[in-house]
Subunit: 317 residues, 2 copies
């Protein structure tokens, strides 16, 4: 590439959205400055790495930028927080050109605009592999973050939307053929996932005792939630909302669905289902109950087995 | 490597320091939660990439972790801010093992402990190249951040410490021979730079009109400061505090010194020099004066030439 870092940064700045009144100093200084928050501060970071989380030949730069922000928004959502500001540390291999990089930031801006999130700064570097490390800050009223650790025996286990669609969409996208409507939807879910920011606030208001986003597959993430809460659960496999293009294995182990997994007090489930449907058109499925002891999967015929946390683990080989 | 992501995360958690009262939720949930700040929020991110910013054969994991935090602390310092919390998105190639990774986090903890900074979360991924993206948040009293944009004609241009040491240290470290005391100091500056957090607060209190850290070489960073302030400057080359192991070119273009470059009102320089020496043992050099017009370098014989921003630019090839 034949441009300087400052020239690229200036071009990127033009793609970024204008700054709201809470942005005191945006991109271009040593650090960004934001007006004082009222609530507690949330911070989360997630990196997308070429060859691991994406292939440049399979995803558009715009979708990739969008997703790099959404995976972080999903973590803020899972705490019942409101997104505020983001920074991005971008490493570019020799492959991407200026146009690709502009599209990447265009996609980041799309995701930011949807959630009133300000992209206030970043770092730009060369490197052997392209990677996008986004950090998002958010805000939550003091004491109102919903952690993974509060689930109690008797609580109902619920999940938003459907699971396995992302894995099924990635699989379908690699087949060079025509796709069904369900497969098209699954492909969208893989490349353009949604962050359930509004849904999380409803679940929190209705008394969610624990919440997290499903990023590594239901089995692994559920085992993490149970472990953090010091409880077990009975997972009813036939109630898991498997995406119509996916298989049950993809719902349990596929990852990257970015749905909310939550423990709700018995009695709140029906109200939550109605509110999520009315306000967001998002389904809510009751998939089990929190219990003492182990994490057990109950099959359709009533047989039980321990649930293996067979999710996506970058280090298990 | 034969360990799971959760096992490595648990091992890392044991290396991290305990959490202070301002950390409501530390590592392990979807996002970290911090008690409400009083002041404005600062955010900055910087990534160190293998093959670009470091070679694993040349640097220890501990030094690398330390530096990955310090380069961000330096950005918070340059705004006259106080560091609060950090997150780290770590990508590991096949090379690093568990011991290396633990040492990396040990070094990060060292830098955090020195500045009462809490490492509250992160993300861990596989990838073709090892990279460490750290984001640091900080705090500053409302309206008291020192930007790059406030320098005014007549202000004195000052810089802390000395310049070129980092470049000279990297050069010396690649020579397999015995080193002089100055070279050893330069090597330390490259692998274990300091963040001038306390010094920045003194300069801000004494009325600094503009400030930034020198990360890409004095020539490039000074041109950025001038550009942001819409002014020029006369840089007195003979007054540039060149590290005793370095050459003038390394001071102007070497980068990674993480000293503070600031514009001070005439009259504040002597007080600032005394305070920095007394409180931190840090020298302060007056290297020029802000002026209308261009950025001019004045040689020892009085001859003048435009200063080329010949600093470290990842994209200029």
């Amino acid at each position: 590439m034949n441009f300087s870092e400052d020239e690229l940064l200036e071009a990127i700045r033009r793609v970024l959205s204008g700054a709201g009144p809470e942005v005191v100093v945006g991109p271009g200084d040593d650090a960004a400055v934001l007006a004082p928050l009222i609530g507690e501060l949330l911070i989360t970071t997630d990196v997308l790495v070429e060859g691991v989380h994406f292939e440049r030949g399979l995803t558009s730069a715009r979708d990739l930028g969008y997703k790099a922000v959404v995976v972080n928004l999903s973590d803020v959502a899972a705490m019942a927080g409101s997104p505020r500001a983001a920074v991005c540390a971008l490493t570019l291999s020799d492959g991407p050109d200026v146009a690709w990089t502009m599209e990447l930031f265009g996609g980041m801006r799309e995701a930011c605009d949807e959630h009133a999130l300000w992209l206030v700064g970043g770092d730009l570097s060369r490197g052997g592999v392209t990677s996008i490390a986004v950090t998002v800050t958010g805000e939550v009223a003091p004491g109102h973050a919903v952690l993974r650790s509060g689930a109690k025996p008797g609580d109902r286990l619920v999940v938003t939307g459907s699971l396995g669609g992302s894995a099924a969409g990635l699989r379908a996208s690699k087949d060079r053929r025509s796709w069904s409507e369900d497969e098209r939807d699954a492909i969208r879910r893989h490349f353009r996932p949604s962050a359930r920011v509004g849904e999380a606030k409803v679940l929190a208001r209705l008394g969610a005792t624990a919440m997290m986003d499903v990023s590594d597959g239901l089995a692994l993430d559920l085992s993490r939630l149970m472990s953090a809460s010091g409880v077990g659960a009975r997972l009813m496999l036939r109630d898991v909302p498997v995406h119509p293009a996916a298989m049950l294995d993809e719902a349990l182990g596929g990852g990257e669905d970015y749905e909310l997994l939550s423990a709700l007090p018995d009695g709140a489930v029906d109200i939550a289902r109605t509110e999520l449907a009315d306000a967001f058109g998002t389904p809510l499925a009751e998939i089990g109950v929190i219990a003492e002891g182990a994490l057990v999967a109950v099959a359709g015929d009533g047989s039980e087995r321990p649930l293996d946390p067979l999710g996506w683990d970058h280090f298990a080989r």
